[in-house]
């Protein structure tokens, strides 16, 4: 007798081959049989009319902190995600010395836009300092699988202390980092992540950016010893810089035999040649035998923000960024009033910048504090400004000051929103579906539902991918790229990570505010659409009828 049989679904097994109707049998956390009519089971799921596929794999996340207080990485699982890769962009919670936690936490919260209260309440550092200890602490306490990267910035901090953000490493320090990386990989790290773009709380480049190419080469050599992955976040805003990074990765890949990935790769109609140029470099790298995978996200870029907190949107306005960095609300409001003209001018200058057209006139009022302003919700600033005879900047500031800076604005469709072009890119066999940033940027946008959007927008909508191709893109492809053996495919002996969904309904759901994180404030999430059941290592973990199953903790460290 099997533990579980999923009956009569359309089995789309992750291979990309056409689906077929039949049963999937599971025992002891593994797939036992695929297709045909399976015998009796202790539990059965009727999948008639639904697709049965491998669980989805999200290769670019920052659930590091959230997993410490939320074993479900809510709401990732209900979207069909059964394996996540945290630790991207040079930042992992280990290895880290106890005395470095404050500085690191500040850096992580800033870069990944994680609220301080949530981070501090949720991350207890119970594992101590080492990477293996962190994975031990997660083991048995997670409902989905984790394949963690170790961050280059924390490796540097551990070995070099404060000098990690002051200078290149000495040969001895590089050797120490290589040794430490080896220990982390042997403890279960899926690879190394590094950043060429991020800054910390004091605007200082993160430690990984102080590394010389020789240092990265030495660390890549260690990855080569263990056949692990190098992930980078690069200067994605510039095509020539991205091409140069592709070439750098190609050289590292060829020299050390490693798989490399860069994220994100965005398309913009304002600079539509950029993706063409980058993909030409990727094709050249591929032709040379290098493994360089650009990660492409499915969703368009929308950013929500208030003027009360630092956000991605304020990064384009340094004066606003500095004001938003003031911790005390009253002091912040006073600074806005005092510096009003300069701040208004800076906001108005957005419209004169080349490229993406981020002018404040395109901001839309998303939510308001006062009832008297409720009729403004859904209207754009250009419209309101015309009515009031004021500039865009004055209009935004007037409203925000009236509401104690609590007004929510949104700038929609900043880029990556031409579905025909993005669909073609996603279908390219040389790109990797990723860059969701799951668990990060909680106040700027929802990082959930990208997998559902792949089906709703690019399978059913533009028809850029077949159902089978889309499933493969987020199952067997990432499992293969990341070396997650025994996952990503419905086949006997593979881990029973399974999602049952309605191919006609699966989507990403509307973006809604949620106050579920510890502390005050909200984050933006999306709830699933069209998912029926999610199974992790043979354990039913979420169902449309019962929601999250209490006590489900079958998640594993996927690299152990």
């Amino acid at each position: 007798m099997f533990d579980l049989v999923i009956r009569n679904g359309l089995i789309v097994d992750g291979s990309g081959l056409p689906g077929r109707r039949g049963d999937v049998a599971i025992s002891d956390g593994k797939v036992v049989s695929v297709g045909g009519r399976a015998g009796e089971a202790r539990r059965e799921i009727d999948a008639t009319g639904n697709v049965v596929a491998p669980g989805f794999i999200d290769p670019h996340t920052h659930y590091d902190a959230q997993l410490c207080f939320d074993p479900y990485a809510f709401p990732a699982i209900e979207h069909g995600v059964t394996t996540v890769v945290p630790g991207n962009c040079s930042l992992s919670l280990a290895p880290l010395r106890a005395e470095q936690r404050v500085a690191f936490s500040s850096m992580f919260r800033l870069i990944e836009e994680m609220p301080e209260a949530a981070f501090d309440a949720g991350v207890d550092w119970r594992w101590g300092e080492d990477f293996g200890g962190m994975l031990d602490a997660l083991t048995g306490n997670i409902a989905l699988n984790v394949a963690p990267l170790v961050g280059h910035s924390v490796l540097r901090m551990y070995v070099m202390g404060d000098a990690a953000q002051e200078r290149p490493a000495t040969p001895e320090e590089i050797t120490a980092m290589a040794d430490l990386l080896r220990v982390c990989l042997d403890a279960g790290a899926v690879g190394l992540s590094t950043s060429f773009v991020d800054i910390d709380e004091t605007y200082r480049p993160v430690p990984s950016r102080w590394a010389s190419p020789d240092e990265l080469d030495a660390l890549a050599a260690v990855l080569g010893e263990r056949d692990r992955v190098l992930q980078i976040v690069h200067e994605f805003f510039d095509a020539d810089l991205t091409v140069a990074r592709v070439e750098q990765l190609a050289e590292l890949s060829l020299r050390h035999g490693i798989t490399t990935t860069l994220s994100p790769l965005f398309h913009s109609d304002a600079n539509h040649h950029a993706v063409t140029k980058v993909m030409a470099a990727v094709e050249a790298a591929r032709a040379s035998g290098a493994a360089v995978w650009p990660q492409v996200q499915t969703r368009p870029i929308d950013i929500s923000f208030t003027l009360d907190q630092r956000s991605l949107m304020l990064l384009t306005m340094p004066s606003w960024w500095k004001v938003a960095s003031i911790r005390d609300r009253d002091e912040k409001l006073a600074a806005v009033i005092e510096q009003r003209q300069a701040l208004v001018d800076e906001m108005n200058s957005l419209a004169r910048r080349p490229g993406a057209g981020l002018g404040a006139g395109g901001f839309v009022v998303r939510d308001v504090v006062h009832e008297r302003n409720r009729d403004l919700i859904g209207r754009n600033i250009d419209d309101i400004a015309r009515e009031r005879g004021a500039s865009h900047g004055d209009t935004v500031v007037d409203l925000a000051v009236d509401e104690g800076l609590g007004t929510w604005f949104i700038r929609e469709s900043i880029g990556h929103n031409n579905s025909e072009v993005v669909g073609e890119l996603l279908a390219n066999p040389l790109v990797h579906v990723g860059a969701s940033d799951g668990g990060a940027h909680v106040g700027s946008f929802s990082t959930f539902g990208d997998t559902g959007f792949l089906f709703s927008e690019f399978v059913r909508g533009t028809k850029s991918l077949s159902l089978e191709a889309a499933v493969k893109k987020i199952t067997l492809d990432p499992a293969t790229i990341w070396g997650l053996q025994g996952r990503g495919l419905l086949a006997p002996g593979y881990a029973a990570d399974v999602v049952v969904f309605d191919a006609d309904r699966i989507g990403r759901g509307p973006e809604v505010a949620s106050d579920d994180f510890p502390g005050e404030g909200i984050r933006w999430i999306r709830r699933q659409e069209g998912i029926d059941t999610v199974i992790v290592n043979g354990e039913i973990t979420w169902t449309a009828d019962d929601g999250y199953i209490a006590g489900a903790r079958a998640g594993a460290i996927a690299t152990r």
Binding site: F196, R204, P205, E235, V243, A244, R245
Partner: protein
């Protein structure tokens, strides 16, 4: 296969040093480097005096002409 030639900055480098090393004898080389590397020139706004970093890519030739739309 590179679209543009580049070098990595060395610790302590400034544009003058790179110009002397990479573009010897070229008039106005430092200003040209600045113009070709606006991503680095703009860092002064938020970087608070952080100079070039060892991981920085510094282009040593101008961008190619943009293809026609």
């Amino acid at each position: 296969m590179s679209a543009r030639r580049y070098v990595f900055a060395q610790m302590g480098d400034d544009f003058a040093a790179i110009a002397a090393r990479e573009l010897p004898g070229v008039d106005g080389a430092e200003q040209q480097l600045l113009a070709w590397n606006l991503h680095l020139a703009a860092r002064a706004g938020l970087g608070r005096g952080v100079g070039l970093l060892p991981s920085d890519i510094v282009f040593t030739e101008p961008p190619p002409a943009r293809p026609a739309a």
